[in-house]
Symmetry: C2
Subunit: 310 residues, 2 copies
């Protein structure tokens, strides 16, 4: 391949659906070669046709037509998985969300790759102990769960088995940072990981408010994009509350506001010991001495976001 000389190595992308193609765009845009393994008919033509739009949609990157063509030359196709994973630096699996499929696949791949090859799964919900169940070393597989589409949104949730090697997790974090991604480490796996759990509870409440006629669907979306959306996109939900509590921080918000509001919605208030723990965590995570900087960041990002809307 013409770009082989400058390549950071080859990554095997297992499964060439929307997620696999989007990962491919992120990988080739950041200097890797990619071999896609997918048995589907016409997969090569389909992916080559759609990759330019993905490459143009990567934040912070800008490619000429010639550069796009050169990047797409970095992609090859090999339906035989055993051949596809030969000599790769990483495997990014994007197959069906089925326990048995993923467990069989990684057991098959394990003896075919070098000991330093990263074995990564895009699974959005299956925990790594299940995915690694049939491997000789089940702790080698690590979740690298992107937020769709992976070429655009920075998040990758990282999660190993409870006994995963710290050095392996560190290498996986470094791998995704090297793609301009924002890897976020979970301390232990839970079904749905974090982003999809947060999404599920908010969407459940949103759907209930629309289905019961309290608010129209379009109005609900507008409420989010004119309030919580910009706030959470600027600094996240917990720092936002911590700052909203002024000198009392998160502890004050939870004890004086949150716990007075949630019972009227049919939710359980937080117990005092949880409020004490969480208030302390907030003070340690976001020290009072840096509050002015956080507020300035929140306001700068929020105003920038609102002014950039057409």
């Amino acid at each position: 391949m013409s770009n082989q000389a400058q390549s950071r190595g080859t990554i095997a992308v297992i499964g060439g659906g929307v997620i696999g193609r989007s990962w491919t765009a992120a990988f080739i845009a950041n200097g890797y070669d990619v071999v896609i393994s997918d048995p589907a008919e016409g997969i090569a033509e389909s992916i080559r046709e759609k990759l330019p739009a993905d490459l143009h949609g990567i934040p912070g990157k800008s490619f000429s037509d010639a550069e796009i063509a050169a990047l797409i030359d970095r992609v090859s196709f090999e339906p035989d998985i055993a051949k596809a994973v030969q000599g790769v630096v990483a495997v990014q699996e994007n197959g069906p969300e089925r326990n048995d499929f993923k467990a069989e696949l990684f057991a098959k791949i394990e003896p075919l790759v070098g000991k330093d090859t990263l074995l990564l799964s895009s699974s959005s919900g299956i925990t790594p102990d299940i995915i690694g169940a049939k491997m000789t070393d089940p702790h080698r597989v690590v979740i690298g769960h992107p937020f769709n589409p992976p070429h655009q949104l920075p998040l990758v949730e990282i999660c190993g088995t409870p006994d995963a090697d710290e050095a392996l997790i560190a290498r996986v974090m470094a791998f995704y940072r090297g793609l301009d991604k924002a890897p976020a480490r979970l301390n232990r796996p839970v079904p749905g990981f974090v982003a999809n759990r947060l999404q599920a509870v908010l969407v459940g409440e949103a759907l209930s408010l629309v289905d019961s006629g309290v608010v129209d669907m379009k109005t609900l979306d507008e409420i989010m994009l004119n309030s919580l959306g910009p706030r959470w996109a600027s600094i996240g939900p917990l720092l936002a509350l911590h700052l909203g509590g002024g000198d009392g921080g998160l502890h004050r918000v939870l004890s004086q506001l949150y716990n007075h509001v949630v019972p009227s919605m049919g939710l359980d208030p937080l117990p005092d010991d949880s409020i004490d723990r969480l208030g302390k965590i907030a003070e340690e995570t976001y020290p009072r001495s840096e509050a002015a900087d956080y507020i300035a960041l929140r306001d700068r990002r929020t105003i920038g976001m609102l002014e950039s809307r057409e």
Copy 2:
């Protein structure tokens, strides 16, 4: 007052705390005079000192020092509520969140103002029937609930009593639109309205994940601002899901994804008839023929947001 000639009228702001001051900034920046009624000692000096920062923080506006001084000249102070509301075009109440306080206040104000004066409450949770309970015409009071801080974030949740006059609601919507706000109408009042209900469920899950050690607090905030935050700030949570479902739209996402994930989190799946209703609402609200435009909007805003971060 020197600006009286160009004034759009005077608004009485009842309560000069953080919300009242922020509303004052939004009002004077958009051509109104404001009279603030608050019995607190030193309120005038405190507000005059802090208003410049609020005025500089209004998205899309830019004021010189001389303009700031002229705007602050539009603000006067009158602790006697009966005098403060004389001749005003609107009252924006920001008092304590207590049923009796608000009910007494609006009953006192009602006979002192003209029949076209808008009677608005910033209440974040008390429904308008309770606030209007002691008025001769309890349907005159309308919730205008801002998202903090009101001078910065566009949202104002609008909610009248179940028997409120449609023409009154329309006038309130027009009033807030005239302040460059994004009023969002609720069809009927529910405790916490919409934004705070959405916030409460997401924050509850976020706190649980942090308190149980699944994820660090800072990582949780980073997960939000690198995934759901930008997505929801670009087009809102329900349109985002509807587009994510491709040709199957929201119906497909709910039946094939949402309902397969939420049971593992201990949440109830949606019944089939709700999925059918919500899928239909999504198709009517966001027609398939406009999907390409929505996707382009989502991607443009998301990429703009991510690229604008330092």
